[in-house]
């Protein structure tokens, strides 16, 4: 019985449990002088949960552990001298057995043939045991639930307790995700920093991980100085902010202070469309339309821009984050109390003077928070730079040259078939750690600033 069939049968049992429990509780309440504690459907839920949950849990745990338990048991089938082999060789041998068992060929090697047949037997046994245990549990659970239908069982409280704990578990997934990110990135990065020192990684000016394809290769182990990547990332993000902050801020000011309701109702969704366009589309546009345009412009001005200039990626990224800046600033400008505006107008200030000298200074912490959030977006943006920025590390501040960024390198290092623990893939995780910490810092500061700002006017 396959996994999905088992799950479907379990769900059928869940429904059955619900109806049986409900019917039974109605019957019990009719033939009992003492009324039941809860409504019939809660007894139904109770029976359904008892019949399904333990069985489902066992099923999931069994499926998750199945392959590792079976392979360790397979090892014990090998003769003594084979078991003396190193761990890696043993796991290779087990993989071979698994592959052989799928091909169903008769083997020459009698030792392997014996293990293969034992392995197949084990797999079958585990499968049958699993299905058996799961269904026995399901029926035992249903019986327990059935026995619980008594006047003094507080079915609703029991069910609601479970619901509450489920909700706590769901809410905790956010924390688990963060822990998962930190652990996975830190663990791999730690492996990486065993072979490359942190100072070399952060301050080294030469980045060419391609050398480290295999061990002991002529030409050394590649060099992992990530400074050019950091500079490239900052350069492109800076260009993006140079576009996004003035445009986004002025749009927000116009929309919140000047625009008529009609214009606002038209322009605001239009700006938000910019945020909804997938980044891969921006990347394609940057690479195929903006970059050639900039190259032609530069050439007509007598410059020699690279065909994958930082400027093209930066401009398009800037346009992408305009809506982030504008909608955040819009919220914040709207939160400035009307009394401050009125005071300024009463002194005879024009609208623009009020905005520049009263509203912007009052909203500044919030706006800075929004800009930091936009900066973190720009630093972490991947597809635009993967498609429109360069691949080769180039330590420069010239926006017309091709630079590469942290995210580009993560993608190039991790796409394609790699061994999981080669220095190349580990370097990607080290870069990921840097990226995560930087954006985390920016996010925390900006969220703190925005919150403080909100509290100031509440």
């Amino acid at each position: 019985m396959s996994f999905s069939v088992t799950v479907i049968v379990l769900f059928a049992l869940l429904l059955l449990g619900y109806f049986v429990g409900r019917k039974r509780s109605i019957y019990v309440s009719k033939n009992n002088t003492k009324p039941l504690h809860s409504l019939p459907q809660y007894y139904g839920y109770l029976v359904a949960l008892w019949s399904c949950l333990p069985a489902l849990l066992v099923l999931l745990v069994w499926t998750a552990l199945n392959s590792s338990v079976i392979s360790s048991m397979t090892i014990s089938y090998f003769p003594e001298q084979v078991q003396q082999l190193s761990k890696d060789d043993l796991s290779l041998l087990v993989n071979e057995i698994i592959n052989l068992s799928e091909s169903k060929e008769v083997l020459q090697d009698s030792m392997k043939q014996a293990v293969v047949s034992k392995y197949l037997h084990l797999v079958e046994l585990s499968q049958q045991l699993k299905v058996g245990v799961v269904f026995i549990l399901a029926f035992v659970g249903m019986f327990i639930g059935f026995r619980l239908i008594k006047p003094h069982t507080r079915a609703r409280n029991l069910v609601e307790k479970l619901v509450r704990w489920t909700m706590v578990a769901c809410a905790s997934i956010a924390v688990l995700t963060t822990i998962g990110i930190v652990f996975s990135v830190v663990f791999e990065a730690h492996q990486f920093f065993k072979s490359v020192s942190i100072s070399e990684f952060v301050f080294g000016a030469h980045w060419s991980p391609q050398g480290a394809i295999r061990e002991g290769q002529v030409g050394g182990s590649g060099s992992f100085g990530a400074l050019p990547l950091f500079v490239g990332t900052l350069l492109i993000s800076f260009i993006a902010l140079l576009i996004a902050v003035p445009l986004g801020l002025m749009s927000a000011i116009y929309l919140s202070e000047y625009a008529t309701d009609k214009f606002r109702a038209f322009a605001k969704p239009m700006l938000e469309i910019l945020a909804g366009i997938p980044t891969v589309v921006y990347g394609f546009f940057a690479a195929l339309t903006v970059a050639p345009f900039i190259r032609d412009m530069g050439e007509s001005l007598g410059l020699q821009p690279a065909s994958e200039s930082a400027l093209a990626a930066g401009i398009v990224m800037g346009v992408m984050i305009i809506p982030f800046v504008s909608s955040l600033s819009d919220d914040i400008i709207c939160a400035v109390p009307q009394a401050m505006r009125d005071g300024s107008y009463a002194m005879g200030a024009t609208k623009s003077e009020t905005i520049r000298q009263v509203i912007i200074p009052a909203a500044l912490p919030g706006i800075v928070g929004g800009v930091l959030l936009a900066a973190s977006r720009a630093i972490g943006e991947t597809m635009i730079v993967v498609m429109a920025a360069g691949l080769f590390a180039n330590l420069t501040l010239n926006p017309l040259q091709a630079v590469t960024t942290v995210t580009v390198q993560i993608v190039t290092l991790l796409t394609g078939d790699q061994e999981f623990d080669s220095p190349k893939t580990l370097a990607a995780f080290a870069l990921g750690l840097g990226l995560f910490l930087t954006t985390l810092l920016l996010n925390t500061i900006s969220l703190y600033m925005v919150r403080k700002y909100r509290e100031q006017y509440e």
């Binding site: 509450r164 997934i173 956010a174 749009s251 997938p278 546009f285 972490g380 985390l440």
Partner: protein
């Protein structure tokens, strides 16, 4: 006295004029920045549509193919294995030969064969296998034209360029003109683009596999992120104790996760789901898991906002009538907030649909020529397909990239449209 007042007046008037000019300039900056942003948006959309529209048409070539037993090497009584081994390309060659009998030389013959896509042989094979009694007759077929021919017919290749700079040779130009004159070349609606999956040959490539992959990934994401997100939001909004350290930590965490770069989620998926749990690479299951973690913050935040908008009186009324807190939340507050919750979920889904970077990390960039059958089959998704095609040097692939972008944006517009409509119809004003 009067004189100085007049001077003062003069100064004030001048300064006022200056201040008003400044005011007008400031307004102008505002209008200009909105105009620039919207102009960019329109440029982007128009550019994509203009470049993508031609890809919805495809050039076909009409050939009379003689299904001769000797040429094909199969008879009407052959079995399936023999049919699969038949020499169908020879039939196409000879049919081209009858149209252009003067072609001599190996190189020119090869160029002649390059007019027709390689899928033509399979087309004949399938026809012969379905209709074995037609063997020996001459049938008229419409074959896909090779991508270069297609691009040329759509005006993408300049015939005035010298031969060495062109993807189409002079001889081929003559043949194409002849075919056009015979009305054997025709542009038709490009069904292949919607019914086929990725291919190395641009004219045979389509987006079906990617669309199905995207749908499967969305299905997994939706099934996981909607219940988890809503339950988490209900807990934080309705049940969580105030001023509790754990709850504060969860809240800060969610706000932070919403701003973590998507590629970091890809790293998490690679290290945890693939590295630790052994989920196979490139499958919709692992893509859905990663996108679930990524969209959860969005769903939780919007759901909380929707729950906040439900007035407190509804909760009090429920409690006053003897409902438990769980009953209050799930029988009254959540249904009242449902339009807002669904809108938020759709927006989160739209985000996930356009996401590319984390899926590159978990290996969904593989070349997949089959339509995935389930969540455990290797597959690719629409944005990743766009990324893959955008890297190809062939012009026909670039055209298809634009077309795939149009399809993707079409899906996104549809989802957002549904969200807006739902908000309009179901929104309750309390």
């Amino acid at each position: 006295m009067q004189k100085s007042a007049m001077i003062n007046n003069e100064i004030i008037r001048k300064r006022l004029a200056k201040r008003y000019a400044k005011e007008r300039r400031f307004r102008l900056y505002g209008v200009a920045s909105i105009t620039i942003s919207i102009a960019f948006l329109l440029t982007l959309l128009v550019n994509i549509s203009l470049n993508g529209l031609p890809a919805f048409q495809q050039t076909y070539i009409n050939l009379e193919v003689n299904l001769d037993e000797d040429i094909l090497g199969v008879t009407s009584s052959s079995n399936d294995k023999e049919f699969l081994q038949g020499n169908y390309s020879k039939a196409i060659k000879s049919s081209l030969k009858t149209l252009f009998p003067n072609v001599k030389g190996r190189k020119n013959n090869k160029a002649l064969k390059q007019l027709v896509s390689s899928s033509a042989t399979y087309q004949i094979r399938d026809f012969v296998m379905d209709n074995p009694n037609m063997i020996g007759t001459t049938q008229s077929f419409w074959f896909l034209a090779k991508d270069d021919i297609d691009v040329f017919i759509k005006g993408g290749i300049d015939r005035s360029l010298p031969e060495t700079d062109r993807r189409i040779k002079d001889l081929q130009l003559i043949w194409i003109d002849q075919l056009l004159f015979d009305q054997r070349l025709e542009k038709r609606f490009n069904f292949t683009f919607f019914t086929q999956s990725d291919s190395r040959e641009p004219e045979q490539a389509g987006i079906k596999g990617a669309v199905v992959g995207s749908l499967l990934v969305m299905l997994v994401t939706m099934l996981l992120s909607f219940p988890i997100g809503v339950l988490a939001a209900v807990y934080l909004e309705e049940f969580a104790p105030q001023n509790n350290k754990w709850v504060d930590m969860i809240e800060i965490n969610i706000n932070n996760l919403a701003a973590v770069p998507s590629i970091v989620f890809g790293l998490l998926g690679l290290a945890v789901f693939i590295g630790l749990f052994g989920v196979p690479r490139s499958v919709p299951l692992v893509g859905g898991l990663v996108l679930t973690l990524m969209t959860l913050p969005t769903i939780i935040i919007t759901t909380r906002a929707a729950l906040k908008a439900v007035p407190y009186s509804i909760r009090e009324a429920a409690l006053a009538l003897g409902a438990s807190r769980v009953q209050m939340a799930f029988h009254h507050v959540v249904p009242a907030a449902m339009p807002g919750i669904l809108t938020g979920t759709i927006i989160g889904m739209a985000q996930a649909l356009g996401e590319t970077a984390p899926l590159l990390m978990i290996g969904m960039v593989a070349f997949v020529a089959n339509v995935p059958q389930g969540i455990a089959d290797p597959s690719t998704v629409l944005p990743v397909q766009i990324y893959l095609w955008s890297d190809s040097p062939e012009r026909a692939f670039i055209e298809r990239t634009y077309a795939a972008i149009m399809v993707l944006i079409g899906f996104l517009v549809m989802m957002n449209f549904i969200a807006v409509i739902m908000r309009r119809i179901f929104e309750k004003k309390f």
